[in-house]
Amino acid sequence: MLSYIIRRLLISIPVLFAVTVVFYLLADLMPGDAVTAMMTSEAPISRAALASMRDRMGLDQPWPLRYVRWLQGLLKGNLGYSYITFESVTKAIRTRLPATLELMGVSMLISIIIGSILGIVSALKQYSALDFTLTVCGFIGLSVPVFFLGLILIYVFALRLKVLPVSGMSIPGIPFSLADNLRHLALPMFSLSVLRIASFMRYTRSSLLDVLHNEYLTVARSKGLSERRVIMKHALRNAMIPIITVIGLNIPVLFAGAVIIESVFQWPGIGLLYITAVNQRDDPMIMGLAVMSAVVVFLSNLLTDIMYAFVDPRIRYQ
């Protein structure tokens, strides 16, 4: 097992390297750069002045050269500084990460719990009225665009019912209170959860249904085990494997944040940081976030594979 993990970690190095090259190239291919993003009609500028700004920021050099310089920084553990705010990229990520982890973590947890319970119910009562209702709701949940759902929720809960705030993480200027924070969390969290509940429900349902028709469950029942034990102990555990894959694939999302929902609810997380960085062509920030995402994706895939071994004794790594 240990040698397997080490091997995977070693393989990851060239992969991560390739990811950064591709990202740097993509960022470079975007039309415009930090200098054109900063242009404003208030202060007209000449082409010569633009060129001298580029020169000062090192943007006049070809991308491979800039990439190598950036990579040298990275190898020294320095992700660089934002072109726009001059803030250290590491610090910006560190400041924004807790907000994203809170939003995505709570949403993920709730989605997994509610989604799998509904999925189990739906599978056990296959083709019942309840199953059909949940299926229809699930498809609605999967198809509603998330920004639209967010705005609807704002309209209903904030503007009409006046029970929840529109935006932010807390009321400005008052000492932190958990209740206040949770009130602000409610709408963005719910907007994000609808889609995930629906998706976890569908996965759990189909995965459990696959298992339910297996002969070993008939054997278990014929041994005289209670139905509850048959489902919980034998069916569910086997049905878990594909679900764990889905959860594992979702871990990177925890860190990457939700660009749209964070914008709609002004939740100051990684997603908001990312979209701002892209709009401002803030290459160091874009690259810092790309590296973070790549590392997280890699680690969560590894974690998922290790989890398989725990859930399914048949799987062995060497």
Partner: protein, 530 residues
């Protein structure tokens, strides 16, 4: 089992109660919307923090809506040599928020910070009229020779040329920073200094805290030299989505929306205005919205083509149907009434004339116009669809293309833009019209008219409106005749106010011309909550 259910239900009820009724607002707090992308950057690199320049730092003098000078850190001034030399007398007894006295050293330091090439301010041109600016920028001098402290409370400015309007039009842009805090910072590190997210100023409000991505909190300065503000807490709340900010106004989370960009579209004005306690004021005279064409391409060089576009677009019809009757057609560059002469061509909607002009100019009906724009709201999209249809009727094929701001600027900078839809707020003075028509900037898209350049330069050298008027009238006539940009209508900007606060609405509704990032004295120290 029953008990468990009861406990669970009770817990759920308790949680929902907490969620619904938990927190209350603080009293005597006034909140304004703030654009998320603005963050807490330095005044040397951006103008979008200019509200902090007014409420925390303050300039030497500011300007009122009426165009009068308002003494702030300077209490009086003398103009000498026709506007070449200015002596500013600073207010006595003013202290920085940390208790240090404010002196002439601070003013000298701040002007030098803008001009210092090592600082690399993007706004160094704000001080470009001062004597010694070019030498400082090119490295042959190590400070701005034109700014000198005569004593602790007197600063002498010497300009390259006499500019009688300098104090009004240029000086007001410079906020004053504390020399005792920033003086020791290496110039290269100045714009990234932590000072900018915890400013010490002399203004009516003191810095309390900056919460990344959320808000800036300021508190009343009891020692403010024009009297302690009546409002105790001032919050700038960050928003990246306009719709969210508008909802926050409606929900009472902010009292005033940001005016720097469209937060409330004209489609939403009537609905929001009907909300109790909320009033929307539509500032209806910004710089004209216009279609800018690339003058470097020969097809656009023919004035008949540009005139044809203006004749082809049914501006009044579009304003009536899409802008809900707000707004006013524009025929030239200026919004200021005094700069617009009588007898301009009003380009009444005339598709036949447009067709004829295009024919005379030999416009190829198969040439597609690539019209780019960067406003992402539905209202703008509808405006442009109407324009597209109008132009199709006279045989000009237009393809609309949305891009983000960085892209549209890049297209301009590289000369790849074909045509674009633009508009922005105009300043106090018509001299700023040069921003769209002056030779040699990326923004003018290759348009160059030496007569226009000369007229702008001469108009700027005079002080009396009556003397200046002929110059701007002449420019207005050229802009009207030549349509270097195809002027459409004046930019409209709806700003929303919660009327529980007295002051902001009264202040903004006084003036319909949109002035953006220039220090307008707004008497914030007198604003109060009902």
């Amino acid at each position: 089992m029953q008990i468990k259910k009861w406990v669970l239900t009770l817990m759920l009820v308790a949680l929902s109660t907490v969620l619904v009724f938990a927190a209350g607002d603080r009293e005597n707090t006034y909140s304004e919307g703030w654009l998320s992308a603005c963050a807490c950057d330095s005044s040397l690199t951006t103008t979008c923090t200019h509200r902090l320049d007014m409420t925390v730092n303050q300039p030497l003098v500011a300007i009122t809506w009426k165009g009068d000078l308002q003494p702030l850190l300077a209490e009086s001034w003398e103009m000498q040599e026709g506007g070449k030399v200015w002596i500013l007398h600073l207010r006595q007894g003013v202290k920085w928020h940390d208790g240090e006295p404010f002196t002439a050293k601070d003013a000298v330091f701040s002007f030098n910070a803008y001009a210092n090439p090592k600082v690399g301010s993007r706004w160094s041109t704000k001080v470009a009229d001062i004597l010694g600016y070019d030498e400082f920028q090119s490295g042959t001098a190590d400070s701005l020779v034109g700014v000198q402290a005569l004593d602790d409370k007197t600063v002498r400015f010497e300009l390259k040329d006499a500019i009688p309007l300098w104090l009004k039009l240029k000086q007001t842009y410079i906020p004053i920073f504390p020399e005792h805090i920033l003086g020791d910072v290496a110039p290269e590190k100045l714009v990234s200094d932590p000072y900018w997210s915890h400013r010490i100023g002399t203004g009516p409000f003191k810095w309390v805290k900056y919460v990344d991505g959320q808000y800036i909190e300021l508190g009343r300065n009891e020692d403010y030299f024009l009297g302690a503000p009546k409002i105790e807490h001032l919050i700038y709340r960050f928003y990246s989505a306009g719709a969210t900010q508008a909802a926050a106004l409606e929900n009472g989370e902010i009292d005033t929306t940001a005016y720097e960009t469209t937060i409330i579209t004209l489609d939403d004005v009537a609905r929001l205005d009907a909300v109790p306690n909320i009033d929307i004021f539509v500032m209806s005279k910004g710089m004209p919205n216009f279609i800018r064409v690339n003058h470097e391409r020969p097809e656009w060089g023919d004035v008949r083509v540009r005139q044809a576009i203006r004749y082809a677009i049914d501006v009044d019809g579009i304003l009536e149907s899409l802008s809900h009757g707000y707004g006013q057609a524009a025929y030239t560059v200026f919004p200021q009434d005094w700069a617009i002469p009588d007898g301009l061509n009003k380009y009444e909607y005339n598709p036949e004339k447009a067709k004829q002009l295009l024919k005379e100019a030999g416009w190829d009906p198969n040439r597609k116009v690539d019209l780019v724009y960067h406003y992402d709201d539905l209202y703008t999209r509808n405006l442009l669809l109407a324009i597209q249809q109008n132009l199709a009727q006279v045989g000009m094929k237009v393809e609309l293309r949305y891009t983000d701001a960085a892209t549209i600027h890049a297209l301009q900078a590289t000369g790849e833009m074909d045509a674009g839809y633009f508009g922005f707020g105009m300043g106090l003075d018509p001299s700023l019209g040069e921003n769209t028509m002056g030779t040699g900037t990326v923004e003018s898209a290759g348009y160059s008219n030496s007569a226009v350049d000369l007229l702008f330069a001469e108009g700027f050298k005079l002080s009396d409106r009556e003397d200046r008027q002929p110059f701007y009238h002449a420019i207005a006539r050229i802009a009207n005749q030549e349509q270097p940009c195809i002027w459409l209508w004046y930019v409209m900007r709806a700003v929303g106010f919660n009327r529980r606060v007295v002051g902001p609405y009264e202040h903004y509704s006084e003036e319909k011309i949109i002035y953006f990032n220039m220090p307008i004295y707004n008497e914030i120290e007198n604003w109060y909550i009902k």
